[in-house]
């Protein structure tokens, strides 16, 4: 009994020794700043109180959660809308394109595939900046050049809330679709073809085949990727920040996701205490979100 115990102790020691450097890095650089963010969220730290801040309790949280006009709750609602709109469009468009790619007898399939994943291969922030200047710029953007040719007057694409939201959605879809198409494309190829053959014999139409065979077959395969994409969409910062609200180059639209909202309060209006409270609230939302998602499969099994 005794040697077994020392062996176990050795394993524990060995395990912690080898994972120590990584865990230490994570504790110091990731976990400690999060705890420190929690501390800042209880103070009135801002640009005037950078060194001489005081603890003010939960005032920042009250302001964020209970005062609608402070902007956090609207930003949260917009983020939810953003996530739902983007995910629905992404899944539908990706499904249609992936199905088309899997048409029998399509010779140029691999060429189409390569061209369609191109946006995934580009650095995201570069693509967003290219879209912003190349497509949406009101003077020399391509869209307004086309508008002019067709005889319409130019549009300020990023100046209004609604139209900026649509433009940001287009850019986000452009960025995210290649991943989703790849995942659904892979999943479609794994569906057992004999299901379709027997369904065809039974006289099932395209819709019936889609609803009763394709979707149930690919759902478990694409589920993890869809969940990850929901997270990344919910946490989207780059698209909306770079398109509409870069410091010194705001376009006039006031659409905020929770992340751009937290960033603006920290580094534009320098309200560090309040912004930290918002950060902690976002973190709690993400924790609840991932807890709910990680629970669900267990219940099904």
């Amino acid at each position: 009994m005794k040697p077994l115990k020392t062996k176990k102790k050795n394993t524990i020691l060995f395990s912690y020794l080898w994972s120590m450097p990584s865990l230490l890095l994570i504790c110091l650089i990731v976990i400690f700043p999060i705890i420190y963010t929690g501390y800042i969220s209880l103070t009135n730290m801002n640009v005037y109180h950078w060194f001489t801040y005081d603890l003010i309790g939960l005032k920042n949280y009250r302001e964020a959660l209970l005062v609608f006009d402070s902007g956090f709750i609207p930003a949260l609602l917009l983020t939810i809308l953003w996530t739902v709109v983007n995910m629905v469009l992404q899944l539908v468009i990706a499904y249609v394109l992936a199905s088309l790619l899997n048409t029998k007898g399509l010779r140029l399939r691999n060429l189409y595939r390569t061209l369609l994943v191109f946006p995934w291969a580009m650095p995201g922030y570069v693509s967003i900046l290219l879209w912003k200047t190349g497509m949406f710029n009101s003077q020399f953007g391509l869209l307004n050049q086309w508008m002019e040719k067709l005889g319409f007057s130019p549009i300020k694409w990023l100046a209004g809330d609604g139209i900026a939201f649509i433009c940001c959605t287009v850019v986000n879809l452009w960025l995210a679709l290649p991943f989703m198409i790849t995942i659904i494309d892979g999943a479609l190829q794994s569906v057992d073809q004999s299901f379709y053959e027997s369904a065809l014999l039974d006289g099932a139409g395209w819709i019936e085949r889609t609803v009763y065979i394709t979707i149930p077959s690919i759902r478990p395969i694409i589920a993890p990727s869809v969940i990850i994409t929901i997270f990344t969409t919910f946490k989207q910062f780059d698209v909306i920040y770079l398109m509409t609200q870069q410091a010194g180059a705001k376009t006039g639209a006031h659409i905020h996701t929770i992340l751009t909202y937290a960033y603006e309060n920290a580094f534009i209006t320098n309200n560090y205490g309040y912004s930290s409270a918002v950060s902690i609230v976002i973190f709690v939302i993400l924790i609840i979100f991932s807890y709910v998602i990680n629970r669900k499969p267990k219940e099904e099994v």
Partner: protein
């Protein structure tokens, strides 16, 4: 029978046409930037614009390399990426292996914490990081950025590599254990060679992260000399009133090229190297 065949052919033609349109629409922003970067005319307001530039010139590319400190930014980016990749992999791989193979008290608790940390955008603790690094004199230094990047990527490296190690069957290692191989030998001779594709993908993802990260870089670094490529490109962008759109598009394509090459070289590994860890970069 013949009618049906024609119908099939027509359907295929329609699908081909549709996919060609979609592919073209997808590539429009990039093609447009490419065409602008090669265009000699400085004014793009002419209504006779076409995708094929009338007079091709490399002048904009020359400007990127000669008039802008792009090579300095490249050096900064490569240095930061090199250190971040090395540190996060050297610490992450042993830890990932341990978490994949050994069972010890505290393991599942740490793993659950890691999932949460992975969900946490580092952007949200930017204030705290700034406040912590500034008294140490690490703001506006490469060291400061390296610290931030290494921490974020340590979580990613550990999690992604663990996911991959989980897919390597333990039986291979047990068999060589019976043959008398020591644990170090097993790791060096069997596990690491098997994990090569995952290590390559993880290293590339870390490199791409550093290459593309601009928000910490522009907030923590002041002065063009200290910029990384991403921060530099951010500062070059043309807005409604200033800056040169042709030079910016040339710079944007130059910055994207290495990432495009890496992506298409690793594309086959990309899907497996990423989905096995259950994370997307």
């Amino acid at each position: 029978m013949k009618g049906k065949e024609w119908k099939e052919k027509g359907k295929l033609l329609l699908i081909n046409l549709l996919l060609i349109v979609v592919c073209f629409a997808t590539l429009v922003p990039i093609l447009y930037a490419f065409s602008v970067s090669l265009n000699e005319q400085n004014s793009l307001l002419g209504s006779d614009f076409s995708f094929i530039p009338q007079r091709i010139t490399l002048e904009n590319y020359r400007k990127v390399f000669v008039e802008e400190p792009v090579l300095l930014w490249l050096k900064n980016s490569l240095l930061l990426a090199g250190v971040t990749v090395t540190v996060s992999l050297c610490t992450g791989i042993p830890a990932a292996y341990i978490f994949s193979r050994k069972r010890f008290p505290g393991r599942s608790g740490i793993l659950q914490t890691l999932i949460l940390l992975y969900a946490f955008p580092s952007l949200l603790s930017m204030t705290a990081l700034y406040k912590l690094l500034s008294p140490m004199g690490l703001i506006n230094t490469r060291m400061g950025l390296i610290i931030v990047y290494t921490g974020t990527m340590a979580v990613f490296a550990l999690w992604n590599m663990k996911g991959y190690f989980d897919t390597i069957p333990v039986e291979i290692e047990e068999a060589s254990m019976i043959d008398g191989a020591s644990p170090i030998q097993i790791v060096m001779k069997i596990v690491l060679p098997l994990a090569k594709p995952a290590i390559a993908v993880t290293a590339m993802m870390v490199l791409i992260y550093v290459w593309n990260e601009y928000i910490f870089a522009i907030n923590f670094m002041t002065g063009e000399d200290a910029y990384t490529l991403a921060a530099g490109l951010y500062s070059l962008q043309a807005n409604e009133t200033s800056g040169s759109w042709p030079v910016f598009s040339a710079a944007a394509l130059v910055v994207s090229l290495p990432i495009l090459v890496i992506f298409f070289a690793l594309q086959k590994n990309m899907a497996s190297g990423l989905t096995s860890g259950g994370v997307k970069g």
